[in-house]
């Protein structure tokens, strides 16, 4: 019997339909503008595909889970958290998740957007895999199911699931409403995934082992790192493996600077990066695509600004990603906040995916 923790953020997505680009702190305004809560409908559309008999849901009362399960025709659940009367908050999501952990769930299924993903991640971390039913205004984090049917497929195979790393992004809603996408990498969760169709081609299969792939990438990149060259190394676990290979500590969610195999700057901001570039030394940027959309610049790597990229030069950017990440990310995106610079990116780039091997990926600008 698989135990699934299930929580709905009933107000997720509320701001989106009425042009509020988010829901944090504007629920009343959204409702005043005529927004109709739709998160539960989204949850039901995914839950109704579940026919397995060996799943027990642990959930919250009312609109935070119970209602959706009942409407989807699922009755094998128990309520572990009593939702407050009236509006719910992020704290309710976090409290429910803590109780799910106490109950040793196999997976936490949530329905919401980037904000809800952060709330679930705050409690669950990478202890238990999570999976999101998309219902938010913004879904840049990489934890959401592709479609409602795939949620059912994942849940029904909860006993033999693969998990993969998924970035949780923090988006500043105030800036977002002003049309500025200011994001940072918030954390790295484990997301439940079905075993990908594997390419049983001439030889082996797609690398299943992420750690092995990262190790190969790190072996290669450290082998071709040049002396007296400044390396600006972006956030994430793939870039982290490169820095670890050098015997150095990496700021997982931040940007570090390495030269001659020594750590020059830890968790650098834009100003620190520009300062390290203020000499004539050659420089390179090493980044990995972040989030569901595969952003290489502009999302989660705000420190590596347009000015930093211009100083280093577009031809000196090294992009790394594991084969599984590449498979999940059909297109790469750049959004440096400088349209002129974005336009200068080539239509496709080489992404290092292993030891002396790369894939060609298209860039969408």
């Amino acid at each position: 019997m698989h135990r699934i923790g299930f929580v709905v953020n009933p107000v997720a997505g509320l701001g989106g339909t009425v042009g509020l680009k988010g829901t944090d702190g504007v629920i009343t305004e959204a409702l005043r503008r005529g927004a109709v809560p739709s998160a539960n409908e989204r949850a039901i559309s995914a839950l109704k595909y579940i026919h397995g008999n060996d799943i027990t849901f642990l959930t919250c009362s009312g609109l935070m889970g119970e209602t959706a399960l009942q409407k989807a025709g699922i009755f094998c659940f128990s309520i572990v958290y009593n939702s407050p009367v009236g509006s719910t908050t992020a704290d309710d999501t976090r409290r429910a998740c803590r109780l799910f952990l106490d109950e040793h769930v196999d997976l936490v299924l949530f329905c919401g957007g980037d904000g809800t993903a952060r709330d679930v991640y705050d409690t669950v971390g990478s202890k238990v895999p999570m999976l999101g039913i998309p219902a938010g205004v913004k879904m840049y984090s990489a934890v959401f199911a592709i479609d409602p049917k795939s949620v059912a497929a994942v849940l029904e195979n909860a006993g033999s699931l693969m998990t993969r790393e998924a970035e949780i992004l923090d988006i500043d809603e105030q800036s977002y409403r002003k049309g500025i996408l200011s994001t940072r990498l918030y954390g790295i969760a484990r997301v439940a995934a079905l075993e990908e169709y594997v390419q049983t081609a001439k030889h082996v299969i797609e690398e299943k082992d992420e750690e092995r792939a990262k190790n190969e990438i790190a072996n290669f990149i450290t082998e071709v790192m040049l002396p007296d060259t400044t390396y600006i190394i972006g956030a994430g676990t793939t870039t982290e493996s490169i820095v670890h290979k050098l015997g150095l500590r990496k700021t997982l969610l931040g940007v570090d600077v390495v030269r001659n195999r020594l750590l020059l700057v830890n968790d650098a901001d834009e100003r620190a990066l520009l300062a390290t570039l203020n000499n004539d030394a050659d420089s390179r940027i090493i980044v990995s695509p972040i989030g569901a959309q595969g952003f290489i610049f502009g999302r989660g790597t705000q420190q590596i600004s347009a000015e930093v990229i211009r100083k280093v030069g577009l031809s000196n950017i090294i992009i790394v990603a594991t084969p599984a990440k590449c498979a999940d990310t059909p297109l790469l995106y750049v959004d440096t906040g400088d349209p002129e610079l974005d336009a200068q990116f080539p239509d496709s780039v080489q992404v290092i995916t292993g030891y002396r091997i790369a894939q060609r990926k298209k860039i969408s600008k």
């Binding site: 030889h203 082996v204 590449c326 002396r356 894939q359």
Partner: protein, 452 residues
Amino acid sequence: MQTKILLDEEEMPKRWYNVLADLLSPLDPPLHPATQKPVGPEDLSAIFPMELIRQEMSPDRYIDIPAEVLEVLSLWRPSPLYRAKRLERHLKTPAKIYYKWEGVSPAGSHKPNTSVPQAYYNMKAGVERIATETGAGQWGSALAFATMLYDLQCTIYMVRSSYTQKPYRKSMMQVWGAECIPSPSTKTKSGQVVLAKDPETPGSLGIAISEAVEDAATHKDTNYALGSVLNHVCLHQTVIGQECREQLAKVDEYPDVVIGCVGGGSNFAGISFPFAGDKMSGKHKDVDLIGVEPASCPTLTKGLYAYDFGDVAGLTPLLKMFTLGHDFVPPSIHAGGLRYHGDSPIVSKLVHEGVMRAVAYHQSEVFEAAQTFARTEGIIVAPETSHAVKAAIDQALECRKTGEAKTILFNCSGHGNFDMTAYDAFYAKKLVDYEYPAELIKQSLARLPKIP
């Protein structure tokens, strides 16, 4: 207009053509891995029979094919030459496309053209067992077939990832009585070293070669056989090009372009060396000889022309060739085959000197071409062969632009009947366009063995 141009059995070439005799300058000799001095026949005698060593180094332009070997080759030779009329119509090209169909051999590819004489000479030398390596299984199955004919035992080290993924090639080897072992294995020191470093390694051709060479060198009754790269292997394949020249002459043609795919280089050598001879002697100066390789393992187009080992462990002689570095393990997930870090020294030299040239393609465009070929000519080619198909199609499309009616010949080296999972991946849009990060790698190639 004839579709098939056939030769009678008595028109089969009775001699192999040795392009070494016509090279513009002598081939750089293979060097001993320990002394870095040119290897002599005695250095090779631990793993090869003397007759093959003689062929490896022979200056003679032609070498007679033994009657016993001709008798076996006649099972499928002379192979047909086809005019690809339907493909031409589909492409709306003024070009004339001819393809030499080598998929008619028992093993389904050009490989038995050399496995049969290699097994024969080993049998003549009193050898009891042959050890070899195989990647996708084409060579392993061809050698299993040949050793069976001459009552030899055969041990095949098959790249582990293929061993699991290609059960039917393995079954073929079994039918023909060979032993097939996934590589790296614990049977050899080379295999043990690799496994200790990386127990989950998918293996590579370079590793499997190390194991087979070690097996042969450490067992008195055992010799080694290689399915490509070496001079004598390329020599045996020249029956292909010689037949093509005769077949084209029957319809008053001589090719403007000759195309073959390149992994180690033997099938390209087989179709192109006789024409390279014509080119170097000045008889047909303008014939364009094109080797086609995968963008993921672009030895001729992105490699360095230098001395390097033929295997991962550094057991083989050092060969002057285009190389991506002997420690390069090509992407095992690449579906298109042709994954070897080096290339035939003769093909390398001819490319280096401009007698031949090379192009590289991504795998999805190559499968696209194979689909076009299957839907016009009917034959489902091996992923390797589809590289040659792609280049031939590109040449024909170029002719459509220029209006030239070139005669294009390519080696259709094998069928893809055991490669349908690769086609499945193509249709599922799961084929990834791997490529070789040449710019970044330039630095690491500095680690090749230093030869003065």
